[in-house]
């Protein structure tokens, strides 16, 4: 693109020049290849830590010491992964992360729907301020809530239980969900609502039988995002979940760095086990996410 020096074409016939321009853009110049190489190199740089972690997780420490990080494993070695897996009781951590994230995502969508029904459809008085309040809740740093939450959860015996995480992230995610969904509900076709009301449906029925089925795609994108965001959280989980049995995947892996079992290939295995779940979610939800990544981005 940079190589196309556009000479002045004003005196030429407009149509013809446009045609020539179109034709020319499909030709690849040397500069195009240079730029392609540039973006591919950036891509390789970004991908290389993943590849390094992948090949070194299946290497024995002596293989690593002898041949370094760049060679492929001489023989597939699963002991690093197995050691870490057993040492942290990885299935338990996976399960903790999974059900806390799923519960928070589900409850957050439910709360968002109820809030957005009042704000977007019901248009309650002062709704602008209500939305600002919810956005504020989503924006303020979690360290500004941390100690009071810690103290409160201790008082009600929810400290060091996964319930503390589920409750906190239900609220934080639903604050964002309320904001997003209120504007979606605000543009809901009035005719459909009127028709349902004429048929004698109550508000509760209209919400669950008419509105929710229609906005279901938006709700599922929201739920996936809330799930992944909760899975990735760290500050509040590392504060609340002190027993091994309650920890989530990121907390367990972070706390073990520098531990005596963490030789070079076991550390690599811990990184691999930590990144695999999110990559798997991404592959499963790819289609929904591709639609959703830009959902809510500025129109």
């Amino acid at each position: 693109m940079t190589a196309i020096l556009a000479p002045s074409r004003r005196d030429e016939d407009q149509l013809e020049s446009t045609f020539k321009l179109r034709k020319r853009t499909s030709r690849r110049t040397a500069a195009d290849w240079v730029l392609l190489t540039g973006v591919v190199v950036i891509g390789i740089l970004i991908a290389s830590p993943f590849l390094l972690v992948l090949i070194n997780s299946f290497k024995s420490p002596s293989d690593y010491a002898a041949n370094g990080p760049l060679s492929l494993p001489k023989a597939l070695y699963f002991k690093g992964i197995a050691d870490f897996w057993n040492y942290v009781d990885f299935p338990l951590k996976l399960w903790n992360s999974f059900y806390t994230s799923a519960a928070a995502a589900l409850l957050a969508v439910l709360i968002s729907v109820l809030n957005a029904f009042a704000i977007g459809i019901g248009r309650v008085r002062g709704r602008t301020w209500i939305i600002i309040l919810f956005l504020l809740a989503n924006t303020i740093p979690q360290e500004g809530l941390l100690y009071p939450l810690y103290y409160m959860f201790k008082q009600v015996d929810l400290y060091d239980t996964t319930w503390s995480i589920i409750i906190v992230f239900t609220v934080i995610q639903s604050a964002f969900g309320t904001y997003l969904l209120s504007s979606v509900f605000g543009t809901f076709p009035k005719e459909i609502l009127e028709a349902a009301a004429l048929d004698g449906a109550s508000r509760w029925q209209i919400l669950w039988r008419v509105i929710v089925p229609i906005v279901r795609p938006t709700l599922s994108v929201m739920m996936i995002f809330f799930f992944i965001w909760t899975w990735n959280e760290f500050l509040i989980p590392v504060t609340m979940l002190i027993s091994n049995d309650n920890q989530t995947v990121p907390v367990a892996i972070s706390l073990l760095q520098g531990d005596k079992i963490m030789d070079v290939t076991t550390t690599s295995a811990s990184a691999l086990l930590g990144l695999l779940p999110t990559l798997v979610f991404f592959l499963i939800f790819q289609r929904t996410l591709a639609r959703g990544i830009t959902a809510g981005a500025v129109k």
Partner: protein
């Protein structure tokens, strides 16, 4: 992923979208959300502000000390250092990714997508986005592993290509620790602006480009005058959300350096965490956290107002 509300929409008299119904009973639907919000966010937030005026070890009742903590904060070299490190995080998470993201998104969209095929462009975009999917602490573990001191991948590679003089204890040396944490954040963050900007570029009318080209505008001129201009709302959103995220960085610092060596990588979030739970100076930790809350809220309001003003100026033209 966050839209910034603008006050552009005309003010209409608020009426429910549901006909023949008073507005009163809709409040019922807000009750669960409001109760939860009050208990989990509003009360803790106000409580935390209150604690910043007290001295508290977390056991006996807090003792009111007025502005003592705030005076101490303004004279606390460690706090200002942690704040300087936050600016380093802004460079790593906002400035570098946005600038690179703009150029890369334009190259992928205009050139790679059109001349080498959409599949190449979307494959590269997915590759850039990959680190964004990880929990921040896992990203830190991955890069921390690459940067390991004795037998780390980076040092081994440097040695192998004859640059062993550059081998380094990247995270253990105060002069490179902050740069290493910044590297983690750049790696994590780079894909976000690329994805958002590429989506935004679909709004750019190709005829505008052709017209500009016919008028003799060079690539950079077109990029600045058309591309950057049209996707400005996205640039605003990316800058705002990433700046807020940069001020909140905690996990990577906790995982890789615990603020060290010395205080080289101390960030406000980690500082308040250690005041809460290690030093047990809850009042002072609350002061740091309150200061961060104020900075983030003020920044958000300033950003949104600036964007609003810009859009209105645009409309009046």
């Amino acid at each position: 992923m966050v839209t910034v509300p603008t006050s552009r929409r005309p003010r209409r008299i608020s009426r429910s979208l549901l006909p023949a119904s008073g507005r009163g009973s809709f409040w019922f639907y807000l009750v669960p959300g409001f109760v939860l919000l009050t208990v989990i966010v509003i009360i803790p937030m106000l409580w935390n502000v209150f604690l910043s005026f007290t001295s508290w070890r977390g056991i006996l009742a807090p003792v009111w000390v007025g502005l003592d903590n705030w005076v101490q904060l303004f004279h606390d070299g460690d706090f200002w250092l942690s704040f300087r490190n936050s600016i380093a995080m802004i460079i790593a998470m906002v400035v570098i990714p946005t600038l690179i993201g703009l150029v890369v998104a334009a190259i992928l969209f205009d050139l790679i997508g059109k001349k080498f095929g959409g599949r190449v462009a979307s494959f590269l975009r997915a590759t850039y986005y990959l680190p964004q999917l990880l929990p921040g602490v896992i990203a830190a573990v991955v890069i921390g592993w690459v940067l390991r001191p004795e037998n780390g991948a980076l040092n081994t590679i440097l040695g192998a290509v004859g640059l062993s003089s550059l081998e380094h204890n990247w995270l253990g040396d105060p002069s490179t620790a902050l740069l290493s944490v910044m590297a983690v954040m750049v790696w994590v963050q780079i894909g976000y602006p690329v994805v958002i900007f590429m989506a935004a570029l679909q709004r750019v009318d190709p005829e505008l480009y052709e017209a500009a080209e016919l008028d003799g505008a060079g690539w950079f001129q077109r990029f600045r005058a058309i591309t950057v201009h049209i996707i400005r709302p996205e640039i605003f959103v990316v800058t705002l959300t990433c700046t807020i995220a940069a001020l909140k960085v905690f996990g990577p610092v906790f995982t890789l350096t615990r603020g060290g060596p010395g205080n080289a990588t101390l960030v406000p979030s980690y500082y308040s965490f250690t005041e809460f739970f290690t030093a047990q100076q809850v009042g002072y930790g609350a002061t740091i956290a309150t200061a961060m809350t104020i900075i983030i809220v003020v920044l958000s309001i300033a950003f949104i107002r600036a964007q609003d003003r810009m859009e209105r100026a645009e409309e009046e033209r």
